[in-house]
């Protein structure tokens, strides 16, 4: 693990991240990445050999950032329900900061499922994820859910899809003389917390 990236390499990765997040693997242009980084195309190949390898690096770091939110599921200072609430908040904050991230990950995971499986294993070895924590808590009687997998899917869906489909929701809201903005997001967050409480208290 290098502590300081060579400045050029770092600039390229930042530029590539911006470009790939916006346009995806096939839509992105090596020329644009070079321009953003303030260098020329040949250097991209000097540092990363080809487009796919460069993309891989970006994809990997995006996945890493995404899964780093799961840390909270192992936080000893919190009880189980607090962890679930905390994770929902983390996801919402994360996607609010990087709104393109959700669609990017979904698009590329769908396009290349095998690459994704490999990388997930790399990122998650040993760490608790939401689903494994839910199954665990269910088995130990900490919570009593109808179906942990369904709860998991619903929760992730409510946290993620609003960002994935933001353009669609914005248009539909405007057509109906209402809006989908940061205030709505605050209210969505509150409603998601109610949902969690309601589901986890069915015990």
């Amino acid at each position: 693990m290098k502590l300081i990236d060579s400045s050029t390499e770092h600039k390229i990765l930042e530029a590539a991240k911006t470009e790939f997040l916006e346009f995806g693997l096939y839509g992105a242009r090596m020329q644009n990445i070079a321009n953003r980084a303030g260098i020329n195309k040949a250097l991209l190949h000097y540092y990363f050999r080809n487009k796919e390898k460069l993309f891989d690096k970006v994809f990997e770091s995006a996945l890493e950032r995404y899964f780093s939110n799961m840390d909270i599921m192992s936080d000893d200072r919190l009880d189980f329900k607090e962890r679930v609430h905390g994770l929902a908040d983390r996801f919402l904050d994360f996607l609010n900061e990087y709104p393109q991230m959700a669609l990017f990950l979904i698009k590329e995971v769908s396009a290349n499922q095998i690459l994704f499986i490999e990388k997930v294993d790399k990122n998650l070895r040993g760490n608790k994820t939401l689903l494994s924590a839910l199954l665990d808590a269910q088995q130990k009687g900490v919570v009593s859910l109808e179906n942990p997998m369904v709860f998991f899917v619903q929760l992730i869906s409510m946290c993620t899809y609003p960002f994935v489909a933001k353009p669609l929701f914005t248009v539909i809201a405007e057509r109906n003389e209402t809006s989908w903005n940061s205030d709505s997001l605050t209210e969505l967050r509150a409603s998601i917390h109610s949902f969690i409480d309601h589901q986890l208290n069915l015990a």
Copy 2:
């Protein structure tokens, strides 16, 4: 409105639909579409002039199919709550039949929001949509929601994202020795109906 498409034109549209749904506007290849249709590239241009015009036709018919699910919001035989339940079922059935449709629409709407706005107006003139029906019902006191827009977003998210992110959920489920299959979908459906009941009965 032609009753019988010339066979070639119809074959091209079917082939284009398959290709565009899988790869999107930029990922799709005219050569692949020609191969699927059993003809050659030149004929694609003879019938549809260029790639974008062909895509437009496919996109438009996908949108039309998607919004046709909204019919139920104007069904006089049902009361308001039945309509909402019915619409959720329709969406789940629709996406179960065309699982790639959700991601396709999202990708292309995000990539070309303006085209989408035009086409939405074309598809929706006069018809009730879920959101407009919710706002209406709220105003008339038929239901009493905390925030109709938030409920709308949550409901659509729970119905749609499980299909958008199916590859992701499948992988994560397998990692945890459980599964995400058609049985899970039945249980998801039940849970969504509970959610609707719970939200609409807060009055």
